[in-house]
Subunit: 134 residues, 2 copies
DNA sequence: TTTTTCTGTAAGAAAATGTAACATAGTTTG
DNA sequence: CAAACTATGTTACATTTTCTTACAGAAAAA
């Protein structure tokens, strides 16, 4: 049960971690700057990494290889799910100062026009999904 | 049960999707280029988006707001878990042509040195995690 | 003393978006 | 219907941001 402790025990120097992960020291420091890891420090200010740090760096490495950027890596490592978006999470911007009611009116009028595209009569049915709830 | 069908039915024009999502046409086209969405086309080559497309774009939008890049978004939307890394997924590179055995030897010698940092006697225990399996 | 590591800064590459030019589709109106 | 708009499409180039690499000087560790 002190596994948690053992895994966060500071053990590895920068040089070793470079070899273990294949990341450069500069990269590792950069990731620390961006709060992806938080290695301990010696009295002399050298970083000392734990197993957790190393494993996290290995995860980071594999995500980097996929081209995922730091923000993405943060997201994945903290595995926030994508917040489920509401029935319709309309973004206002531009037409910014519309009231919700106005916005809905706008959408309805726009959407009615959508009829031109496909000729599916089901459009009416879809509207209910957007407008008939709440 | 034809919900699936309804949700993938092409309904929305580019302009409407811009308003619904707050993304620019340029962005939306770029995401299509990168295979995040696959809107249908009219005979005249205009894009027509489904509900699924719009919802995906809303997810993309919220990830973008977090600073996640396309690779990251792809990863999240397909929600691949980070592949669990093996007990020690050593990266060779640089010292590239070592055999696995040589590499293990190298790691052991390096790791033994690690003792200098912390003075925790538990290091020996940790080694087993790395070397005593398989 | 020699080797590592630290911080900071600058230069370079790549990703994402903006912008502009010009063609075609679809809509609206006289 | 035909002329006039407006929305979209494609392509190419410019700009911004993010990440990596390289370098310099100082301190720590061997």
């Amino acid at each position: 049960m002190d596994d948690r402790l053992r895994r966060s025990m500071p053990l590895f120097s920068m040089g070793i971690v470079q070899n273990l992960t294949g990341l450069t020291a500069r990269q590792i420091r950069y990731y620390e700057e961006n709060a992806l890891i938080e290695p301990e420090r010696t009295e002399g200010n050298r970083r000392v990494f734990s197993f957790n740090d190393v494993e996290k760096l290995l995860d980071i490495k594999s995500l980097l290889d996929e081209g995922v950027n730091l923000a993405g890596i943060k997201h994945v490592l903290s595995s926030k799910p994508v917040e489920a978006n509401q029935p319709l999470n309309v973004v206002k911007q531009k037409k910014s100062d519309l009231s919700d009611a106005d916005l809905m009116k706008y959408l309805k009028s726009e959407l009615i026009n959508a009829g031109k595209f496909g000729d599916q009569a089901a459009i009416q049915g879809e509207f209910s999904r957007f407008f008939n709830q709440k």
